[in-house]
Amino acid sequence: MSKDLTIGEALRQRGVSRRGFLKFCAATASMMALPPGMAPVIAAALEKARRPSVIWLSFQECTGCTESLTRSHSPTVEGLIFDTISLDYHHTLQAAAGDAAEAARVAAMEENYGNYILVVDGSIPTGNPGFSTIAGISNLDMLRETAAGAAAIVSVGTCAAYGGIPHANPNPTGAASVSDLVSDKPIINVPGCPPIPVVITGVLAHYLTFGTIPELDDLGRPRAHYGQSIHDRCYRRPFYDKGLFAETFDDEGAKKGWCLYKLGCKGPTTYNACATTKWNEGTSFPIESGHPCLGCSEPDFWDGGGFYKALSTPTADITRTAVYAVGAGAAAGIALGAMNRTKQKRMAKEHEKVTIDDLEKGD
C-alpha cells in the first residue's frame, strides 16, 4: 500500500464503501470517547489524512500490550486503524530480523524524520545497560535515538507510561518510564496492564484525525478515556453508596453482584475506561466478572498494598504498633504518674503551716 494514499483512499482501495467508512467513523468516534455528533468531522478529517509512519519499540515488557492490540485475526475497526498506519518497525510483528530490522527502523526514521509517531511499550532499564538490549543497542540509547526524530510518543502500557512491573519495589533494573527519560517531545501515556485496545487505537485515531495529541490529564493520559474513575462509572456503584458489599468471593453479596470495595477494589483511585468501554468488544470488565479492580492504569499499582486489601486499610501493621504503644504508654504513664504523686505527697509533707500571721506578705 502506498504511503502517499490518504486514509480515505486506502480504505476505498480495500473495497470499503462510503457507508462502511461512515460506520467506521461512527465506531471510531465512540472509541475516541467523542460525542457521536463528531462522526462527520472525523470522516472529513480521515478522508484527507495521510497515513503516518509508526515505529514501535518494545523494551522491558511482556508483549501483553501488543497482544491486547493484535489478538484479533479479522479486520476489526482497531485493526483497520492499525492497517491504515504505516507500521515501519515492530520487532515482534515484523518479518524482518536482526540487521535488516534495524535497517528498516533507521530507514523509516530518516525518511520521516520529525514526522513519525513513536510507540513504546515496556520500561527502560537505567541500571546496567546490558539488562535489556536489541541488536546490541541498549534500550536507553535506542529510545533516545528514535525519540529524537519523533513527532510524538505514545507510551503504551503501564511499563512505558510509569515503569510498571519492572519498576516495582525494589526495581532491580532501575526501570524508568519514557517520560522519565524524554522531556522534549509530546508524550501520550496509555497506561493499563494491558491498556484497552480501543484506547490505544483511539489515541492513534485522534492523532490521525486532528493531527494533534488529545487533551491529557496530569499523568499524561488522554482525558477522553481516563477522565473518570472506574468507581464513578461502575455499574456496582449504587451498592457502594447503599453500603452493600461482598465480604468474600463466594458469599451472597458476591453472588448478588454487590460492591467489591472490601475485597480490595482499587476502582475509586483508578482512572480508566474499563467500566464503559469494557473488554473483549464490550463484553465485560474485571468487576463485572466479579474481581476487584487492581488499579493497573495507575503509577506503581504493583506497590499500592495488597490487591485484596481494601483501599482504606493501612499498609503497616497498626495493631502491633498500637499494642506496643499501649504497653509503652502504660509503663511511661505509671512512671510519670508515680512521679506526680510523689511530688504531690512531698509538697504535702513539706507544707509550711500557714497561721493567721502568715496571711500577709513578708518583706
Partner: protein, 219 residues
C-alpha cells in the same frame, strides 16, 4: 519519592508513628491523672459517690434547661459537630474497614449519601463554631493558640475527607493521602491538647458526680 511511595509512606510508617504518639500519649496522660490519686473522703456519705459518678457520666451529655436557653447556639452546634464527626468517623465503610483491619472489630456502615450529608452538616457546624468562637466575647477571651489549632486539626480531616470522597481539588489518590495525613496530624496533636477531653471527660464527670453523689446531690 513518587506519589505512590509518598502515599504508601503516609499509609504505612507515618501512620505507625502517628499511632505510636497517639496511643502512648493518650495512655500516659490518662495514667498521669489517675495515678495522682486523691485523698479518701472522711465525711459520712449521704448518697453513693460511685452511683453519682456513673450517673453524671451519662447525665452531663444533656444540658440543663437554663444553659440550653442561654447558650442555644453553642449547645446545638456543639452537638451537631460532635455527632457528625463521630458518625463520619465510625460509620463510613472505608473507615470501618480500617478499624476491622487494625482492631479486628467491625459494625454495619451507613449509606454513603448519609455520610456525605453528615459531613457537609458537620463542616458547616465546625465553621459556625469557629465564627462563634471568634465573635462570642467569652469564647474569644478564653481562646488561645491551642483552641484554634485544635479546631484546625479537627476540621482538616473532615474537609480533606469530603474532598477525597468527591474527587475534587487534587486527584483522588493525592487527596486521600492528604486526608490520611490530616488524620495523622490530628492524632499527633491529640495527646498534647484539649482533644484529650475525649477521654478525660469521663474521669472529670465521674469525679464531679462522685463528689456530689456522696452529698446526695444529683448532678
Amino acid at each position: 519519592m513518587s506519589e505512590i511511595e509518598l502515599f504508601n509512606w503516609i499509609r504505612g510508617p507515618a501512620l505507625q508513628i502517628a499511632t505510636l504518639i497517639f496511643v502512648v500519649g493518650v495512655v500516659v496522660r490518662i495514667l498521669e491523672v489517675l495515678v495522682l490519686g486523691r485523698k479518701q473522703d472522711l465525711s459520712e456519705a449521704r448518697g453513693s459517690g460511685v452511683a453519682g459518678g456513673l450517673r453524671t457520666i451519662i447525665s452531663r451529655m444533656f444540658p440543663d434547661r437554663g444553659t440550653l436557653q442561654r447558650s442555644t447556639f453553642n449547645v446545638i452546634a456543639g452537638y451537631v459537630f460532635h455527632v457528625g464527626f463521630l458518625v463520619t468517623l465510625l460509620f463510613y465503610t472505608p473507615h470501618i474497614l480500617l478499624f476491622r483491619d487494625s482492631l479486628g472489630v467491625s459494625w454495619p456502615a451507613l449509606p454513603t449519601p448519609v455520610i456525605d450529608a453528615t459531613a457537609v452538616v458537620t463542616l458547616i457546624a465546625l465553621i459556625a463554631v469557629l465564627v462563634h468562637r471568634i465573635q462570642h466575647k467569652v469564647m474569644r477571651f478564653l481562646s488561645g493558640f491551642q483552641d484554634y489549632l485544635v479546631w484546625l486539626v479537627t476540621f482538616l480531616p473532615l474537609l480533606t475527607g469530603y474532598f477525597a470522597f468527591h474527587r475534587v481539588v487534587l486527584d483522588p489518590q493525592a487527596m486521600i493521602a492528604v486526608h490520611i495525613l490530616s488524620v495523622e496530624l490530628f492524632m499527633v496533636v491529640f495527646p498534647f491538647t484539649k482533644l484529650m477531653h475525649t477521654f478525660t471527660l469521663f474521669m472529670a464527670r465521674y469525679y464531679n458526680g462522685h463528689i456530689a453523689g456522696r452529698r446526695g446531690v444529683k448532678t
